[in-house]
């Protein structure tokens, strides 16, 4: 039975797959469902992800079969055949991905047969079953990657040999991670510092080629439980090893940990790694010194609560606790990870500040999240726009680090790596100042 959710902060599986598809240039999604499915993904998804626009085939331009009662009663396969046939004529693309919604999956349309038909006519079309009742946006991201890995055949004659130094980046969910594009950029530029090339899959500069190259990478790095399925699949099919980093690194220390882990796996020159890490730590130190005056004038040493998904929350908590001296009293993980992943996440939270009694809570329900925050009464919240009400009631600053973010426009900011740590510090400072100016007036 479904678990009712108050103010759910994640759309459905169809939306997650859509966000992934729309994040690759040349991929054209075709929704096979009722007309509102795509609009919901835009109004309740991309718009709430720091007001990010949806690109040229996003938003109201997403091809969709918009099935009506006739298709529900008599089946919608012929409508889908027509939609596929016309989509390839109207919309330019390198790969067309049919994503099914609740209605057509319930009716039982034979979607694979329609897609096979289009492929036999020479069109690059695949299909992924993504009805909303299968789960959240995160599940949709998993389903998308799984569909790509299992169905995307390399073109005849294209190279299949591994590309030395190519690293798959998995687990960063487009749109649902408001800072996904910046985060992917930062991970890529960190890896570039040790001469590795990130296969980011999503965001500026990526194409269908990146999806094809998944099987040619030397290693997969996983930054949330939602990348594990894909990593395992790539290992099973193509023998690509993978490392689970559990969450995105924030700050110099966690970035150093990333380098050391990768270096160990790929047997890289440690001297080089140490030099890079040294540089990161020095840079971070420089900017922390720049911050120090404000830190004491504005009173930064606060008890904090973090509300975010499993790729974001632990890294930010670690940076705040171990580098910035904040005291994490409550960490709320909002993406409902599987039980075995919860254990690892709980361990990383336990290690934040031993003896302080940091509480970890896995929860998607806004009512329960608000209750937990009010009860713990932290001095600052790092969460989403949905925490505005609680922050207001507690008269404390709120830094918006997780979906939905509706109070500010976000284009390419990141919260990962060193660049992300510094951006986070600027955001924390702005929130503290804003709340203090509120106190005076």
């Amino acid at each position: 039975m479904g678990l009712p959710l108050e103010a759910s902060r994640s759309g459905c599986a169809l939306h997650g797959a859509l966000y992934a598809a729309l994040a690759v240039k040349g991929v054209v999604p075709i929704i096979h469902s009722t007309s509102g499915c795509g609009i919901q993904s835009c109004l309740g998804g991309t718009t709430c992800s720091g007001w990010s626009g949806t690109g040229l085939i996003g938003g109201s331009a997403i091809p969709s079969s918009n099935i009506s009662e006739k298709q529900v009663v008599f089946g919608g396969t012929s409508r889908l055949r027509e939609q596929i046939k016309n989509t390839v004529k109207v919309v330019s693309g390198d790969l067309y991905v049919v994503l099914s919604g609740c209605s057509t999956e319930m009716v039982g349309d034979d979607i694979p047969a329609m897609v096979r038909e289009a492929r036999e006519q020479g069109f690059p079309v695949i299909n992924i079953a993504t009805p909303g009742f299968r789960g959240s946006v995160y599940r949709g991201y998993e389903l998308f990657l799984k569909g790509i890995i299992s169905q995307l055949e390399p073109a005849v004659g294209s190279p299949v040999h591994p590309i030395p130094g190519l690293i798959n980046i998995l687990g960063i969910v487009p749109t649902q991670d408001v800072f996904w594009e910046g985060n992917l950029d930062e991970i890529a530029s960190l890896l570039a510092r040790i001469d590795l090339r990130a296969n980011s899959l999503f965001g500026y500069g990526t194409t269908v080629e990146g999806l094809h190259d998944l099987r040619r990478a030397q290693l997969s790095l996983v930054f949330s439980p939602w990348g594990l399925d894909a990593a395992r699949e790539l290992e099973a099919r193509f023998g690509i090893p993978w490392i689970n980093l559990n969450f995105l690194p924030v700050g110099a220390e966690e970035s150093a940990r990333l380098f050391e882990t990768v270096a160990e796996a790929l047997i890289l020159n440690l001297e080089r790694i140490n030099r890079v890490n040294d540089d990161l730590r020095k840079r971070e130190g420089h900017f922390l010194n720049k911050l120090a005056d404000a830190y004491y004038i504005q009173g930064w040493q606060l008890e904090c609560a973090i509300v975010a998904d499993s790729s974001t929350a632990p890294g930010i908590a670690t940076f705040l606790a171990k580098t910035l001296g904040l005291l994490p009293s409550l960490v709320i993980i909002t993406d409902n990870p599987a039980d075995q992943n919860r254990l690892e996440l709980a361990e990383s939270v336990d290690k934040l500040l031993p003896g302080f009694g940091t509480r970890i809570l896995f929860c998607e329900d806004q009512g329960e999240i608000s209750d937990a925050l009010l009860q713990r009464a932290p001095e600052i919240i790092l969460g989403s726009s949905l925490e505005q009400d609680v922050a207001h009631r507690l008269h404390i600053p709120l830094v918006e680090i997780s979906f939905p973010v509706t109070g500010q426009v976000e284009l390419n900011k990141c919260h990962a790596g060193l660049r992300g740590a510094l951006a986070l510090l600027e955001d924390v400072g702005r929130a503290i100042l804003l709340s203090q100016s509120g106190d005076i007036s």
């Binding site: 039975m1 479904g2 678990l3 009712p4 959710l5 108050e6 103010a7 759910s8 994640s10 759309g11 459905c12 599986a13 009722t34 007309s35 509102g36 795509g38 609009i39 919901q40 993904s41 109004l43 309740g44 998804g45 709430c48 040229l56 109201s60 331009a61 997403i62 091809p63 969709s64 918009n66 099935i67 009506s68 009662e69 006739k70 298709q71 009663v73 008599f74 089946g75 396969t77 027509e82 939609q83 016309n86 989509t87 109207v90 919309v91 330019s92 609740c102 209605s103 009716v107 039982g108 009805p131 909303g132 299968r134 959240s136 009512g367 726009s385 949905l386 505005q388 939905p404 509706t406």
Partner: protein, 514 residues
């Protein structure tokens, strides 16, 4: 349906246990006793009434619906033994389409034909196959019971546990796809012979659920349950992030076993936390296809919680006109009684068009709802411009005066009707090449990407006091500095194929063949 005509009895059970024989015998006895009787077979085998018809087969409602657009009662009924009126709902080909929903479509048609009002039966008997995986029987009885059950019911619409809502296409002849001049439309509305058009390629567009939610969120003190898969509640993050709302977050199991229990749980949880004055339950495709019984749960909880709990009848697929959701919302609000003031419809203040020459000789394209468009056409004319074309979401019989006004203001004006569908507008703008685009923000952005200076305004912004002055000021700015649209257009590779830009923009609009 307000008043039920006759007593309605459903006889339900799995195949081969004698339902049809029993039902036919009851019908025959009632007829012999002098009552007017209708028997409706709701079984894909369509042989419920064969006994009454002396072995003759009857064309089913669904088959007839599939083959012809206009169905008359004579086409689908026959008088059998003792004067019993026999009807077979029929069903889809096994494994294709949804049996339960099919029966619903048949029942809808019977209502449209005013079967009960015309025939005035004393008894209506339904012979319902109960082993269809989903369908109206699930709504009536809960999940599959093995034994035959006799169900006295209060009306056809009750059987499906839902109220009917007449969609805009049928109530007002609403049209969601059209490209051409206005006079043919005026004529078809005046002669009440509206041809429905559909698209053979389409892009995502708002549905009744999105529109209903837009209205429901404006009601102070109300709680909202979006009853479906979690994605159907996504738009709430935009509309009312901090409001009292929840989703039942249905999973795969709920789609098979029914969702009454989870709905109960959701309503009680929302009530305990927020104590709303009224709770609205917005239906979605999953519960509509399954015919999950929202109304019983709502009625029970209205009593238990002592506040109105009211279903909002949406489904995402019955109507192609999103504004149908506005009707569903209105119907629900009316039922909620004096607790809700209703959304206050703003009086449209007609302000005199301000004087300007900013559009001297310029060709302007409008992308606005038709009511706002009429006002803006006058403004464009008074500022020296002409209209190069208009795109509107939908039109229906209620817009007849607006259509006439447009035709009078600028004869020969071309009207494009489309909810969303930016591919068609891209084609239109590519041909027309207007010098300014004036429309809703959702539409204006596509014009901007095509390099056309664009002004964005919502209907509210235009029609409120001082709205037209504001519009002129924005127009002036858009023409004075089009740097942003130029920069945007520079890096935009058109998403559509060259072939599409060469096609007529209404290439994918076809007359609907039922």
């Amino acid at each position: 349906m307000s008043e039920t005509i006759g007593k309605h009895i459903a006889i339900y059970g799995k195949g081969g246990i004698g339902k049809s024989t029993t039902t036919s015998n009851i019908s025959a006895s009632l007829a012999a006793a002098g009552y007017r009787v209708i028997q409706i077979g709701c079984d894909p085998k369509s042989d419920s009434t064969t006994i009454l018809l002396g072995g003759n087969d009857l064309p089913t409602v669904l088959d007839t619906l599939r083959e012809q657009s206009k169905v008359r009662l004579e086409d689908i009924s026959a008088v059998g033994f003792g004067g019993v009126l026999c009807i077979e709902a029929g069903g889809p080909v096994p494994g294709v389409g949804c049996a339960g929903r099919g029966i619903n479509a048949a029942v809808d048609l019977l209502q449209e034909l005013h079967l009960f009002e015309e025939y005035k039966p004393d008894f209506v008997l339904y012979d319902v196959l109960g082993d269809s995986r989903r369908g109206l029987v699930v709504g009536v009885t809960g999940y599959s019971r093995p034994n035959p059950v006799l169900l006295p019911t209060t009306g056809v619409s009750d059987m499906a546990g839902r109220q009917s809502l007449v969609i805009r296409e049928k109530r007002l002849g609403a049209i969601g796809a059209y490209l051409g001049e206005i006079p043919p439309l005026i004529e078809s509305f005046e002669q009440n012979s509206i041809a429905q058009r559909i698209r053979t390629f389409s892009q995502t567009a708002p549905d009744d659920i999105v529109e209903a939610l837009r209205v429901m969120n404006r009601i102070n003190g109300a709680g909202l349950i979006i009853h479906g898969a979690r994605g159907c509640a996504a738009v709430q993050l935009s509309l009312s992030p901090g409001g009292a709302w929840a989703t039942t977050n249905l999973d795969e199991r709920d789609t098979i076993m029914g969702s009454d229990a989870v709905l109960r749980k959701a309503i009680i949880a929302l009530y305990s936390r927020h104590h709303p004055r009224v709770i609205f339950v917005v239906a979605t495709p999953v519960v509509a296809i399954n015919n999950d019984d929202i109304r019983s749960v709502a009625t029970e909880l209205s009593d238990e919680l002592d506040i109105p709990v009211i279903p909002v009848i949406c489904d995402g697929f019955r109507s192609r006109i999103a504004a149908t959701g506005y009707d569903a919302a209105k119907q629900a609000i009316l039922k909620s009684g004096p607790l809700v003031d209703g959304e206050q419809r703003q009086e449209i203040e007609q302000t005199a068009s301000p004087v300007s020459t900013v559009l001297n000789g310029k060709r302007v394209y409008l992308g606005l709802p038709i009511s706002a468009a009429v006002t803006v056409v006058s403004l464009v004319h008074s500022a020296g411009g002409t209209i190069a074309g208009i795109s509107v979401d939908h039109i229906d019989a209620g817009h007849l005066d607006d259509l006439k006004a447009l035709q009078q203001l600028q004869p020969g004006i071309v009207l494009h009707v489309a909810g969303g569908q930016p591919f068609e507008e891209a084609g239109l703008l590519h041909r027309i090449k207007p010098e300014l685009y004036l429309g809703t923000p959702e539409r204006a952005v596509w014009a901007a990407r095509a390099g056309i200076p664009a002004v964005a305004a919502t209907t509210e912004e235009i029609l409120k006091c001082g709205g037209l002055q504001h519009l002129l000021r924005q127009t002036h700015k858009a023409l004075a500095n089009p740097a942003f649209v130029r920069r945007l257009a520079r890096d935009v590779t058109p998403p559509y194929t060259d072939a599409w830009y060469r096609r007529s923009p209404d290439w994918h609009i076809k007359l609907e063949v039922k």
